[in-house]
Amino acid sequence: MYYAQVRPQSVLETGCGETSDAHCPAQQLNSSIQLEADISTQNPVEQILGILALIVINKAGGLIYNRTFGDGLNQLNTNDYLVLAGTFHGVHAITTRLNPGHQPQQITAGGIPSRPDPPSGLEVMESENFRLQCFNTLTGTKFLLFTDTLQANVDVAMRKIYDLYADFVTKNPFYQLEMPIRCDTFDRKLNSYIREVNNAR
């Protein structure tokens, strides 16, 4: 199986910190979805395993961020990514509605039945070549993290990415909610974190 391939560790060390500005300039905030060229693909790495891609979908089903890390997944064009985001948004809504069986009543210590958790949509999807973890925030933004099938602790990585989003995107005064994410700091922090995770394996 190709998962057994070992990556050269040193190659990943190059090419970090190549971005310039700490703040996201206001003129970058036009609503076009045309995301700029991928920073991570400039790294001369043959096969990165681990975390393969990150996609962020806003609450209306629009694509607001996508990055690929390495070439574990097929490269799609921007239009295909938009279609993918919309499709996933719909599928997620359907999977929330499908509810077979009935939940057992959870009894708390006081003997009072607690309110059951609201149904969640798709959380993890598995295929032969990759695994997709979906995190749905309370405000309806979805983070899709594509990893290889053997990646462990995806929850931790997802949590960290959400922290980065909260710190460097939502706290950016120039960022408009539900709009494409174009924040250099977020890009930089994300890239270095993903590189760290992928190197640690």
Partner: protein, 178 residues
């Protein structure tokens, strides 16, 4: 390890749901005189025509009555079809969608080269059931549906699938897992 199985759906290559079966016990419906009400409504144009207020009361309980099984089958097909295409696009044509999980259930998917699709819903903690679906295909579908000389080639409306041997074998097999 026992695993709680909720339901199984089989779709043919024309995207039609040709077989579905539930194993969980549905919660008992609230005691009401629904069938009787319906009967009255069916020939309700007689002298016993209800007043507008009463009619509303009668229609209220009828509202959630829909063919839930058929609707669910369509939703499940839409879901697995979309996810399968998504997986093929991202992972290459040789990639195959295996399963997805929510907090309440897990859906296992298996597709034969002839585009016959199996979807099995289990509890969320279940391990991969791909081999189970493969066994259902080999030992039950092929044996009792494909090799049945009386079964039609296409199973329009589930014809030919609902034979005794297949149903009994399937039920026994799934109950053996639980």
């Amino acid at each position: 390890m026992p695993v709680q199985v909720y339901s199984l759906y089989i779709f043919d290559r024309h995207t039609e749901c040709i077989y579905s079966k539930q194993w969980f016990e549905t919660p008992a419906p609230a005691p009401s005189a629904l069938p009787h009400d319906q009967h009255q409504q069916a020939n309700g144009n007689g002298p016993a025509m209800a007043t507008a207020g009463e009619q509303q009361q009668q229609q209220q309980p009828n509202k959630p009555r829909r063919n839930k099984g058929a609707d669910d089958a369509k939703l499940i097909f839409g879901t697995v079809f979309s996810l399968r295409n998504m997986v093929r696009k991202l992972g290459g044509d040789d990639d195959a969608f295996i399963s997805f999980r929510t907090s309440q259930y897990k859906l296992h998917y298996y597709e034969t080269p002839t585009n016959l699709r199996f979807a099995l819903l289990t509890e969320p903690g279940a391990l991969s059931m791909r081999n189970v679906l493969h066994q259902i295909y080999i030992n039950l579908w092929v044996e009792y549906v494909v090799k049945n000389p009386l079964s039609p080639v296409e199973h329009k409306g589930g014809e030919g699938v609902r034979n005794e041997m297949f149903e009994l074998g399937l039920d026994k097999f799934i109950r053996g897992l639980m």
